[in-house]
Amino acid sequence: MPEASPREDALPLSLDGVRESLRQSILLVCPNLTEDQLADSQRLTDLGVSSIEVMCIVFEIEEIHKIKIIDRGLDDFETLGEMALVVQRLRAERDRAGQVGA
C-alpha cells in the first residue's frame, strides 16, 4: 500500500539529514532494496528502480518535506546525492518563503 510517511518537515536541513530521510523514503517505496545499496552516487535505475517507483518516491519526499518537485521540473535526478541537493534547496526556499509570509 503506498502511504506517505507522517509529516517530518521539521527534519534537520543538513545534507546528511536530508540524505537519510531520502533513503527512508526510497526504502518505504522499494522494500526490496537495502540501505547499503543506497550510496550517495548510486544511480537508482542501476538498482532496477522503475519510473513508476521514482514517481512514488518523489510523492513520498514531497509529502514528508512539504515541497513541490514534480510541477517544477526538478524530478530529473538520477542519484540519491542529486536528489538530496534538490530537496535541500527546496526546503530552504520553502523555509524562506514561510519566514517572509510570517
Binding site: 500500500m1 503506498p2 506517505a4 517505496v29 522494500p31 513508476i52 517507483e53 514517481m55 512514488c56 509529502e63
Partner: protein
C-alpha cells in the same frame, strides 16, 4: 455420445479451471479442506487508521505478503483486490492446463465481478485530502482504484484480446459475472472466459460504513441461528476458466463441473430491505434456464449473511419455493459462517464450494449455529458439521444490497 448443445441449441458451458484466494489461504483444495473440516477463522479484528480504531468480526487472509507474489512495481500499481484476482486467475489458468496457451486465449473474454474496487486506495486518498489536508493524492490512485485493473493484468499475461469488463452489483457481483460469462459462451460469442469475483475491503472506512447500516455481527457470523446479529467480513477472490463443452472436449480438458442455469432479478420494492418477489423470480428463472425442476435441486448454498433481514427472508423464500415438493426443502447452508462475507467474491467462492461439494458428495456446514432462530423458517441448515449427501445438482444463491439477485445451478459435469 454426449450432446454438446443444450435443447435450445446453445453451447453447454463447463468448468475446466478453478482458482481461489480466501481466509484459509490459497487454492480451491485448501478452500474445500477448510469448509469440509468446519473451520471458521472469523475473529475479532481491530483495524487502526490515523490513530482511530474499530473492531469487527472478520476472516482476513492472514500473513499475506505482497512481495511474495508480485514485483515491487506491480505491488505499487495494484490494490489488494486486484492482487487477489490475479492470483486466483493464475491459479485457475494453471489448473486448466492453459498457462502457455496464448493462441487459445486470444479470442477469450474476461468477465469479473467486484463490489467496491480499490477501497483501500480510496481510503488513502481520503486520508491525504481531508485528514492530512495534503492537497493531493497518491499518483497511482487512478490505476489502483480501477475495477478493471486485474482484467488488464490477466489479459497481458495471457494475450487475451476478447471482451473484458467488470460487473459491480455488490454482494451478487461474482454470480452476475459468472452468469454473464455463461451466456456469452452459450450463445457462441466466445468459447472461453476467465470469470469470477473479488473483494478486499476489510478496512477502516468500509467497516464503519457497514456498521452504520447495522449489518455487521457483534460477535461472529451465525446464519439462520439463534443469536445472529449480522455478517463477518471476508476477503479474497474466486476465478473460473469456463469453456464450451465443444472446446473443452476438443482439447481433452478435465471437466470439473457444468453450469446448467443462470437466473437474475432485481427486487421491485426497496434498495436495502430484501423482498420475497425478487429472489423468487430469480430462482424460477434459474431453473427455467437450466431446464430443470424444483425436485432436481439437492442442496443450496445460501446467500446466508447472518443479518437479521436476509436470513429471515431467504429462509421464507426457499421454504415457499421448495417446501411443497416431495421431501420438502433441500438442505441449505451458508459458507459465510466460515470465510466471511466476501461481497463481490462471495458468489464465485461459494460456486467453487458447490463444485467441490459435488465432487466430494458432501454438503458444507453452517458453522457457529446455536439453534433455530424462530424468525427463520425451520430448514435443514447442515448445522456445525459437513454431512455426506447424494448430490447431483446444487444451487448457489446471491441476494445483494440494492435488491440485485443472481443464482447459479451447477452439476458435477458431463
Amino acid at each position: 455420445m454426449t450432446a454438446t448443445r443444450r435443447p435450445d441449441g446453445g453451447h453447454r458451458v463447463v468448468v475446466t479451471g478453478m482458482g481461489a484466494v480466501h481466509a484459509f489461504g490459497f487454492g480451491v483444495d485448501r478452500l474445500w479442506r477448510g469448509v469440509a473440516a468446519g473451520e471458521s477463522p472469523i475473529r475479532p479484528l481491530e483495524i487502526e487508521r490515523e490513530g482511530l480504531t474499530i473492531t469487527i468480526p472478520a476472516a482476513p487472509i492472514e500473513g499475506y505478503r505482497e512481495l511474495d507474489h508480485f514485483t515491487n512495481q506491480q505491488r505499487l500499481m495494484l490494490d489488494r483486490f486486484s492482487q487477489y484476482t490475479i492470483l486466483a486467475g493464475q491459479d485457475a489458468v494453471a489448473h486448466a492446463g492453459l498457462a502457455d496457451d496464448r493462441e487459445g486465449w486470444r479470442e477469450a473474454a474476461i468477465i469479473l465481478g467486484n463490489g467496491g474496487g480499490g477501497e483501500l486506495t480510496r481510503e488513502d486518498a481520503g486520508v491525504f485530502l481531508f485528514g492530512r489536508r495534503a492537497g493531493k493524492v497518491h499518483p497511482l490512485t487512478v490505476p489502483r482504484t480501477n475495477h478493471q485493473a486485474a482484467a488488464s493484468h490477466l489479459a497481458a499475461a495471457h494475450g487475451i484480446t476478447g471482451p473484458a469488463y467488470v460487473i459491480s452489483t455488490g454482494c451478487a457481483s461474482g454470480s452476475h459475472a459468472i452468469g454473464q460469462a455463461v451466456w456469452m459462451i452459450r450463445h457462441g460469442q466466445v468459447n472461453r472466459v476467465l470469470t469470477g469475483g473479488c473483494e478486499a475491503n476489510i478496512i477502516f472506512s468500509v467497516a464503519h460504513a457497514f456498521s452504520a447500516v447495522r449489518t455487521v455481527a457483534k460477535d461472529t457470523c451465525r446464519p439462520f441461528s439463534q443469536g445472529r446479529t449480522g455478517f463477518a467480513f471476508g476477503e479474497g477472490a474466486g476465478v473460473f476458466v469456463l469453456e464450451s463443452l465443444d472446446a473443452a472436449q476438443a482439447r481433452g480438458a478435465a471437466i470439473y463441473g457444468e453450469i446448467l442455469g443462470v437466473g437474475m432479478s432485481i427486487d421491485p420494492t426497496d434498495q436495502v430491505q430484501p423482498s420475497h418477489e425478487g429472489p423468487t423470480v430469480c430462482l424460477e428463472r434459474t431453473l427455467r434456464d437450466a431446464g430443470r425442476e424444483r425436485a432436481d435441486v439437492d442442496y443450496i448454498n445460501a446467500h446466508g449473511t447472518g443479518t437479521i433481514l436476509n436470513d429471515k427472508i431467504e429462509s421464507q423464500v426457499v421454504d415457499r419455493f421448495f417446501g411443497d415438493r416431495k421431501g420438502g426443502c433441500p438442505p441449505m447452508s451458508s459458507s459465510k459462517s466460515q470465510i466471511g462475507h466476501v461481497f463481490g467474491a462471495a458468489g464465485a467462492l461459494e460456486a467453487l464450494i458447490c463444485l467441490k461439494a459435488l465432487e466430494h458428495q458432501t454438503m458444507p456446514p453452517t458453522m457457529n449455529w446455536l439453534g433455530r432462530d424462530p424468525d427463520c423458517v425451520d430448514l435443514d441448515v447442515v448445522p456445525n458439521a459437513a454431512r455426506a449427501g447424494s448430490l447431483e445438482t446444487v444451487l448457489s444463491q446471491s441476494f445483494g444490497f440494492g435488491g440485485v439477485n443472481a443464482a447459479l445451478l451447477l452439476s458435477a459435469g458431463v
